[in-house]
Symmetry: C2
Subunit: 256 residues, 2 copies
Amino acid sequence: MNGKRPLILVTNDDGYTAAGICALMRTAQLYGDVVVVAPDGPRSGAACSITTQVPVYVRPVCEEPGLTVFACTGRPADCVKLALECCVSRRPDLLLSGINHGSNASVNIHYSGTMGAVLEGCMKGIPSVGFSLDTVNHAPDFAPLERAVKKVIGYVLAEGLPQDVCLNVNFPERDVIRGLRVVRMGRGAWGNEWQSADHPRGGTYYWLTGSYTDLEPEAQDTDIRAMADGYGAVTPVRVDMTAHEALRAFKGMEDV
Amino acid sequence: MNGKRPLILVTNDDGYTAAGICALMRTAQLYGDVVVVAPDGPRSGAACSITTQVPVYVRPVCEEPGLTVFACTGRPADCVKLALECCVSRRPDLLLSGINHGSNASVNIHYSGTMGAVLEGCMKGIPSVGFSLDTVNHAPDFAPLERAVKKVIGYVLAEGLPQDVCLNVNFPERDVIRGLRVVRMGRGAWGNEWQSADHPRGGTYYWLTGSYTDLEPEAQDTDIRAMADGYGAVTPVRVDMTAHEALRAFKGMEDV
């Protein structure tokens, strides 16, 4: 870091005006200079999607000592890509995404724009962490998370992260967070996902909704369990999606 | 399957009129009744994103014996979700996605709408396979892939797939595909990703582009290598993104 303060890139999928990213950028400023490059509006459910059909725009919306904020018309992963090539003057030491308004534990990671940005940062070789709060409250209180968020940031700035591994950190909505638990991603499933309605000019439209089922409610070592017990759930996540343990079983396919 | 022909759900991210999905649905019809639920236009780079801000519509566009085609305004993962609840009369025995116009090997899986649909099917417990052709040709020839695609379909219908594991199958553009290789996802990185231009009414816009670098060109067991050698690369992919091998290393964070 050449004696400079760390440079911390902050993004999210709820847009740059969301309460969660405001909380995160203020905490990040305790640790370094902060550049925010975040969507100009909600991008929930964006996963690691990228913008291929239309051009992307980015504009500065705030500049103060140690903090610059850019709003971007793209998805969270676009924001990270654009930040690195067009918005920062040196390589960030850390990428933080969130704090998401809603859980990204269990299978939700696959839909998460918050974690899409984190995966993008990780693929670029930057230590990258996503934070999410399991809430349906429109004005959630992020203050109870601050101590645990600081612990994670301090740890990652000091220790770094392994190659191609990033962190998915999920919090329950509690007055007091009991601490952190390092846990695996729990198995879960969404169902009953569509709510239909009649369009006033005819036809049917569908809203994506659904209910989540924990497929291993007895397990003690999952993110879902840690959150239920009042802890922040820290899950190390791999860029490599290969099911290595299954490679051998499929070898027979080569001889078909 | 109760003596019935298998029911095969087909989708993609290039839209229901793409040449690749037409090739795949015709091959699929050799093995069962086919229901196509695919986007009504291109959704390249959609990853496993879902539609949360606007409603989704679906309409039948073709019906013939053993084949029904629906066009959907959503993303590939939406198509799978909507298909299962609203478009099929029984649970599909197999989900096929593609054939994508472009490679989804290596890190491209994270951006891939083709594989987003496959992950969605896998999370719903359906044996799910994505097919992609590494091409930049606007009218590629999918015929050389047919024999290998049949091998994969036959194998998966006969053997099934392990719980929470799906397949990512990528082909090189060759007159002859030499066979199949079961391989891991190679490490790679995108860079130089933005091309800027001046808007005629002022300001700058950015197109996402970029160049891919193979980060382990010497490796013999990657999807990139198998394709370079003229084979279809079959990579088993996990829904569980936990870096299990890193869980222990992070335990120290619990005591911070």
